[in-house]
Symmetry: C2
Subunit: 384 residues, 2 copies
């Protein structure tokens, strides 16, 4: 089967934006097409990764609106929702469009508009993705993060500072990302002194609430070689689910859907963790970055904290730089955009376009997580 190429990428400035969801989607979509050098009329499939435009803004039909606004009508459109993993799901959907022969040029735009709602309102919408037996009793995603972090620290005798060092690293990386929501270094002491949200996790262990959008343009590799100056290839992609009721899992520190989707993506690509040069992981909470490293096979269970302690995840000197973009932690987390933006970063890293964030990379991995690992998509990109 012919390989699927990515020939263009873009993201908007993430943060608090004076724009509604459709404007954010248009901004990233248009920039993505420009980056690819593709006319709108060439697009035959258009996906919008978005979790909650209806719940947050009272606006649905966003993929049809975007088709109209970008001038890609009569392209086929669809909104892809896999909660906070909608962006990664969009990548997988775009891959299937090209791989099935249904599309010769697919545009994926992920986006979310959130900051006009209060933190309580936004948290309420996000919590509704979990099982009512949990969220209706107040066990929201931050609560799970606190419970699991406490269990991980106790079980593996991990210093609390290791979690803070994940946040500090990602904030450090975000300083060099002009599109990041936060571009300020935060030291470990500040993180450890910040207000408690869900013990032992504190404010700086959590990603912010964010507006933003990101886009990717896909085509068959045979088309990419004709029309693109440069491109990367989707070497592997797969998705998986875990129990919807989080407390039914045998081991809450093992992210089974991360492992399953990672296995699938690695198998498809022929690569293993040792071949990955750079990774963008879903650090919605600091603890998640460590748990993903373990589930993806970058570290044995209970040992990923040693990687952060040893500096192995550092952008400029580590053996496996994680979240050179700043991650969700400093870049921000506009739900539907995040998984797309992860791949935008890996795309730029592989093409050598990452500026001050540049690492040496020919193979990169993204892991996009929905809920507390309820649904996950893993994507592996490589140079052409």
């Amino acid at each position: 089967m012919e390989r699927v190429a990515i020939i263009g990428a873009s993201m908007t400035k993430f943060g608090s934006r004076e724009a509604w969801i459709s404007e954010l989607l248009v901004e990233a979509g248009r920039a993505g097409l420009d980056d690819a050098g593709v006319e709108p009329s060439r697009v035959d499939h258009l996906y919008v990764s978005n979790m909650a435009s209806g719940e947050l803004e009272g606006q649905t039909g966003v993929s049809n609106a975007l088709a109209h606004d970008l001038g890609v009508v009569p392209a086929y459109t669809e909104r892809v929702d896999q909660t906070s993993a909608s962006g990664g799901a969009g990548i997988y959907a775009a891959w299937r469009s090209i791989a099935s022969g249904a599309s010769e040029c697919t545009l994926l735009v992920g986006g979310e508009k959130m900051t006009h709602r209060s933190t309580a309102e936004a948290t309420d919408v996000i919590a509704s993705l979990t099982h009512p037996v949990e969220y209706k009793h107040g066990v929201t995603l931050p609560s799970f993060a606190g419970l699991v972090a406490r269990h991980y620290l106790d079980r593996y005798d991990v210093p609390r500072e290791s979690l803070a060092k994940v946040a500090a690293k990602n904030h450090r990386n975000g300083v060099d990302n002009p599109n990041a929501q936060f571009r300020t270094e935060v030291d470990v002491e500040t993180i450890l002194d910040s207000p408690i949200v869900a013990d032992p996790l504190r404010l700086y262990d959590f990603c912010p609430i964010t507006d933003g959008s990101a886009a990717l343009v896909f085509c068959p590799e045979s088309v990419a070689t004709e029309i693109a100056d440069e491109y990367v290839v989707v070497a592997g992609v797969d998705g998986a689910t875990d129990t919807h009721v989080v407390h039914e899992r045998d081991d809450p520190t093992h992210m089974a859907a991360v492992a399953a989707s990672g296995d699938g993506a690695f198998e498809m690509s022929g690569y293993g963790p040792e071949d990955v040069d750079v990774a963008e992981l879903h650090d919605m909470f600091t603890i998640l970055e460590l748990l993903q490293l373990e589930a993806l096979g970058f570290a044995e269970r209970g040992t990923a904290w040693e990687l952060i302690e040893d500096g192995e995840l550092d952008r400029d000197t580590g053996s496996i730089p994680v979240n050179p973009s700043g991650g969700l932690k400093s870049k921000g987390h506009p739900l539907g955009a995040s998984g797309v933006a992860q791949a935008v970063e890996i795309y730029e890293q592989i093409l050598g376009d990452a500026g001050p964030r540049q690492v040496e990379a020919d193979v990169g991995l993204c892991c996009n997580v929905g809920g507390f690992g309820n649904c996950v998509t893993t994507t592996i990109l490589e140079g052409a």
Copy 2:
């Protein structure tokens, strides 16, 4: 490329149901797997077609919940939203999963829970799929239907009774559908005397608000020949969009996205309108059934009303029976379920399992419409 087969189908009772969205999805999903004779563990991709579980019930993450409840974890899941055409989009998504080689067994479940909300609330959610420049000024979908119906009647000198006869036919067909919301014949006089909703359209020109769910099981044909007693084949499928701002269209009586998606599906299948033995069309409003017949090439523009006048659309005696299931008009319209349920009917018709609704059919077509033709998916099924 190998053909994509459908090996199982089911739908719940449509109507006012004492069940929330997740229960409806489980009911149809389990029955679909039973009909296919497939164990949950065989399912590797699971799609949920649903427009508004978050807006209508405050529950998101419904595809992950369904994976959990059906026991298909760690299958990949995704919610597919294309507004009222989400069901047809789910069929296209399932087709791409199989055709790309990503899945060997895909379960599609479409569903919506609506009747717990008032008609005003549900209409408000549905209206949000259109452009704010229209719906915020009160131009909802029923308003468009009224405006376009008036234009069609005047322009082509069509008797008002023709629209009523569409409703009467579909109600007549629904009497024989045990899962239909309404199973009562309604005569043309009653329809013409019913309360005005959007002049010239009256209450009986509109489909109801409905709860319900429907499911289909897909696999490659080579798998179907091994594990299924009987199956149908997806001969053609395609989707398209029209302008999001409805009033920008050159001719509001021409459904361009219906035409484009129909052209794509016909081209892929090698069939034309003359080869279609039975069709399920999206009769959300009576006028839409006629406009779809014209856009799909079953009639010249401005002439589809003659088909209903001549009895050509009748189930037992017509040359092209339309909506033998009762259509959205009498079967009901649970948004995300409707496109799936259309294909369930065609599946049963082709396999000869439609009981008192049976027509002679080897090739059948479904057309699922979102908004006022904003996004459309057309599917053509044939016997194996």
